[in-house]
Amino acid sequence: MSEEINLKNGYKIYKKTSETIKALNNVDLKIEKGKFYAIMGHSGSGKSTLIQILGLLDSLTSGKLYIDGKETSNMKENDKTYIRMKKIGFVFQSFYLNPKLKAIENVMLPMYINKEIKGRERKQRAKDLLKSFNLSDRINHYPKELSGGEQQRVAIARALANNPEYILADEPTGNLDIDNEKIVLDLLKKLTREGKTVVVVSHNEIVKDYADEIYYMSNGEIRSKI
């Protein structure tokens, strides 16, 4: 069984009354284990659409998406949910933390649905994750008490909660200043060294410096930098 995400002839078409938008236009993309991918492109080029489809948050209009060898487009919602929980961690531009939960509780949130993490291990695991991101003294803070950089690190810790193979990040540094941008990207890079696969979508040129593979999107089409 191949350990990779493989998108073949991916189309995502939005039909509005007046026009048809091809957010993804025949996209072929292979995400291999342990690498750092940068997907670049202008606003509206289809980057978010692509990463959401890779992470099973959205589905293709046509085409095939294989995750670790399994074709997903005909899967039941429950099976997709399971894969998402098990294999994929998401990081968003606006962090997307639950404002009513403390940092540690946000990190623990995905663990409740994971049978493999026992009840009493959750807290320790969340603590360890936050600690490794230098947030030991922030574990009981609520999101609004944290800086943008700290919030994004909490979000990455949460993405890692269930020890997924793939970290998919949509503009993870979009709301951060230069210092924090570097911290977050370093962190993601470090994850690839630990064997994780990281896909970062951004229009920020600096991401390229971290990437093993760089792709460009425009008008829903993708090409790799040659």
Partner: protein
């Protein structure tokens, strides 16, 4: 996901949304209180009607007289034809007053009322036995027995536990009078012993604590002596219906024949109906108010909730997981409201019962008590309302795609 994890997450959510949920809980508690009250009033009054009005002689007893107060010795004969009549007695033989004394209890001497009874016309016996038409010199006394004039205020401490007197004798005395110009003069005093064979609950049978029951013959015999030489009215009679439900029929039959009638005691139905209608109306209004507030609120906050649900979905929660968490949240809210509602209701009912007891009317005998069925209904309603209120927006939210949830549109 394990049930305790569900409960934990749901509790967390409830706590983190305290403000919003507090309002729900307040509304729900008020609805529950009103529900408990309308049901409890209704049930307690029904109980009261069942236990008292149906059994109580006073509600089954009709005065019958000739319209122009003309003496009519044939009255009894004419009335006998009517069906559903248990007993016809001369008005003067319905009850009598005598002095009473109990040997062991020295300080108690005063007048008591003796009322005729038999096994069909009797307050419900809570201990001992009924009196039959063959019985002589036996009596049934109230559970809370008091010897003396109840028009005077009597002390609680003067109440005798009727149960302790079963088997004991009460000595009664009464006199024969001669009617002189200046008024009646006693010519001879008689005494009789009555043995206590049973007790009735004067709280639920609306009896006064000095009302004792003896056989109809005993009342008549005593009256023969007391009323010797007295002008005993105009020969009116009392008709006792066999059942409370037949009273109206008997009255209309009597009136058809041209007799004047009057119920000895009339239960206050208007009050009962008013309490019922007020209760049901208030509960319905409150139900509508709380459901609509919750629905409006859950629609208003659905954007926020949608984002939270979207977040849960992105980290791998299924629709089912999310709906169960929400369901448990609603159960928690419902249970808290139920508990608050019940506690407040119990306190208010305790106060009302004490207030009612100080009334001199028949409502003093209404004892409010929350029934098991009322508890069950309240708990059902308190869990149902919040779930019902969040159902519509929940289904819409959960059905939407994660992307839509995330954007909250």
């Amino acid at each position: 996901m394990k049930i305790n994890d569900y409960i934990y997450l749901a509790t967390k959510n409830v706590l983190s949304e305290r403000k919003r949920y507090m309002r729900y809980i307040a509304l729900l508690s008020i609805s529950i209180i009103i529900l408990i009250f309308s049901l409890t009033f209704k049930e307690s009054i029904n109980d009261y009607v069942e236990k008292n009005i149906k059994n109580n002689i006073f509600y089954r007893t009709i005065y019958v007289g000739n319209p122009n107060f003309k003496r009519d010795e044939g009255l009894i004969k004419k009335v006998e034809e009517i069906s559903h009549i248990e007993k016809i007695i001369k008005q003067e033989n319905f009850s009598t007053y005598v002095n009473a004394n109990i040997e062991d209890i020295q300080q108690n001497e005063g007048s008591i009322k003796l009322i005729g009874c038999n096994e069909n016309i009797s307050p419900s016996i809570i201990k001992g036995r009924y009196i039959t038409d063959e019985d002589k010199n036996v009596c049934i006394i109230p559970k809370e027995f008091y010897i003396g004039d109840i028009n005077d205020k009597y002390n609680e401490t003067d109440i005798i536990d009727g149960e302790k007197l079963i088997g004991k004798k009460i000595t009664v005395s009464y006199s024969m009078y001669e009617y002189k110009e200046l008024g009646p003069v006693i010519i001879q005093t008689y005494t009789d012993d009555f043995y206590v064979v049973g007790i009735y609950d004067n709280n639920i049978n609306m009896g006064y604590p000095n009302e004792c029951y003896v056989s109809f013959n005993d009342v008549e015999n005593i009256n023969k002596i007391i009323l010797t030489g007295a002008n005993i009215g105009n020969g009116d009679i009392l008709v006792i219906a066999d059942n409370w439900n037949n009273v109206d029929g008997i009255i209309s039959e009597l009136e058809k024949q041209g007799f004047s009638t009057q119920l000895y005691s009339v239960p206050n139905y208007i009050l009962i109906d008013i309490i019922n209608i007020i209760g049901i109306t208030m509960f319905t209004l409150m139900l509508i108010l709380s459901i609509s507030t919750m629905i409006i609120n859950s629609i208003k906050t659905s954007k926020d909730r949608e984002k939270i649900y979207g977040l849960l979905k992105t980290v791998g929660y299924s629709k089912k997981n999310i709906l169960i968490i929400n369901f448990i949240e609603n159960i928690i809210i419902g249970l808290i409201s139920f508990i608050i509602g019940v506690i407040i209701s119990l306190i208010i009912i305790y106060i009302i019962n004490n207030l009612l007891y100080n009334f001199n009317f028949e409502i003093r005998h209404i004892n409010l008590k929350i029934k098991v069925l009322t508890y069950l209904m309240s708990i059902f309603i308190s869990i149902f309302i919040p779930n019902f209120a969040s159902m519509v927006s929940n289904i819409i939210i959960v059905k939407k795609s994660i992307i839509q949830n995330k954007e909250g549109d």
